[in-house]
Amino acid sequence: MRRLKALLARVPAPCIRFLAAAVSFLAGLAVALMFDYLLYRIGLPSKPFIYVSF
């Protein structure tokens, strides 16, 4: 972690801004994916369907 911080500290400011924007965008994508999956799971019945025939 310390090494990462040291590495980032050496990155020029415009690059850091771009990196932060990219990370934010990717985080947004990840949240969108999770939200989409959440909507899907909410839409599934909570009670299992167990078929029994006589």
Binding site: V11, I16, S24, D36, L44, P48, Y51
Partner: protein, 406 residues
């Protein structure tokens, strides 16, 4: 040594997160997922589809969508062919029949290339579930279509599906894909009046359908479940990590009922009482005249006629073949002569009622042997092939009557 970078860490209030980029990512992500889902909803990702076996049906916690089923029908049926959709329950699904022997394959062989048979039956399904909704949703795209469904004798059919498969009806209904059917509308209103506790779940379904119509997440995640990895545990598979396997790797698990290995499973003594009660239970709808004739009660007659009449929209009745399923002679032979006559009468009355309200209908199974059945109602491949042989001429006759073969 390089001088300290004043931009690190970023001075924003949210640290590394830029709110605009973050929100942009969410909107972009949802947009892309919706687009992919929309595309997938029009793609058949079940190549070589035979039927919805237990790992790709609600039994396996997999809920095929209406669009997914329509895509399968579109992929299978060429322009110019008559689309024959098989709905109904496990009997028409082909329980006790391996995928390669299933009766619908035999039906396809018998009907020939002018027809395309697609099996959309589900275990425990009713005539108005799955296949029926798909057929209605595709009525304009495939105007030359025949729907085959089945039901037990003297059984009322709800016009808007039932049980675990009703979600397919709601997808079509709230998605505006079904016909205007005043009788069905009235039945739904009556249902909501009689079962007020169902209003909230149906409202939730309605909202969910709207969201899904915009975002197509069911189609997207169903595709992921089939093609990439399991997204939901299956009740028919061990838990983690097994449920992560994509559903496409699971073979159709249905076994061949004629295999001697399953002989003991067909008519187990443990279920004899239950099976006989089911068969004899039909007598509650009947009374016996002094002449010995069994007569269906007035109430049951009118109920059966009303439910059958409302089951499908009026213009779709003529293209819906209703099969009334017979029971295995293994159990029939255990009935008294009187009881057998009563059971026979229930089938005759049920077929007559469906016909009276406008459907082609037939019963089957009375000339089948115990080996044609895998249990009381399900057919082995031998019975399935006999069924196909009886249904094929009826389907051809219907196609001719409806002017599909011009």
């Amino acid at each position: 040594m390089s001088p300290p970078n004043p931009s690190f860490p970023p001075p924003a209030r949210f640290g590394w997160i830029h709110p605009r980029c973050f929100l942009g990512g969410i909107v972009f992500g949802l947009g892309v997922l919706a687009l992919v889902g929309w595309k997938l909803s029009r793609t058949d990702y079940h190549p070589g589809f035979v039927r919805f076996h237990s790992m790709i049906s609600p039994e396996g916690n997999y809920y095929p969508t209406l669009d997914e089923m329509c895509a399968i029908a579109r992929a299978k049926c060429r322009p110019g062919q008559v689309l024959v959709i098989v709905g109904g329950n496990s009997i028409l699904l082909g329980v006790w029949q391996r995928a390669e022997d299933v009766w619908t394959r035999r039906l396809q062989e018998l009907l020939g290339d002018r027809y395309c048979v697609v099996n959309f039956a589900f275990r425990g399904g009713s005539p108005t579930d799955g296949g029926a909704v798909v057929a209605e949703a595709l009525r304009r795209e495939f105007p030359r279509q025949i729907l085959i469904v089945n039901e037990a004798a003297v059984t009322n059919v709800e016009s808007f599906g039932h049980g675990p498969y009703r979600y397919i009806f709601w997808q079509g209904y709230f998605g505006g894909r079904l016909m205007d059917a005043p009788k069905r509308e009235a039945r739904i209103r009556e249902y909501l009046r009689d079962y007020p506790e169902q209003r909230l779940p149906i409202l939730e379904t309605r909202i969910s359908t709207w969201f899904d119509a915009a975002l197509h997440y069911h189609d997207f995640w169903n595709w992921v479940t089939v093609e990439c990895f399991g997204t939901v545990p299956s009740y028919r598979e061990q838990y983690f990590p097994y449920f992560l396997r994509p559903r496409r790797v699971y073979p159709d698990p249905e076994v061949d009922g004629t295999d001697p290995a399953y002989r003991d499973h067909h008519y187990p003594l443990s279920s004899l009482d239950a099976e006989m009660r089911i068969m004899r239970g039909l007598s509650v709808y009947y009374h016996r005249e002094p002449s010995g004739r069994w007569v269906l009660s007035e109430r049951s007659t009118s109920d059966l006629a009303m439910y059958s009449d409302e089951a499908f929209p009026e213009p779709l009745k003529k293209r819906t073949l209703v099969l009334i399923c017979g029971s295995s002679p293994y159990y029939r032979r255990l009935l008294t002569d009187d009881e057998r006559a009563m059971v026979r009468q229930t089938y005759a009355d049920t077929v007559a009622t469906w016909r009276r309200v406008g459907y082609p209908a037939m019963d089957y199974g009375w000339d089948f042997t115990a080996e044609d059945f895998g249990d009381r109602t399900h057919l082995t491949k031998l019975g399935g092939w006999k069924l196909a042989a009886q249904v094929a001429p009826e389907v051809s006759a219907m196609a001719k009557r409806l002017g599909y073969l011009k």
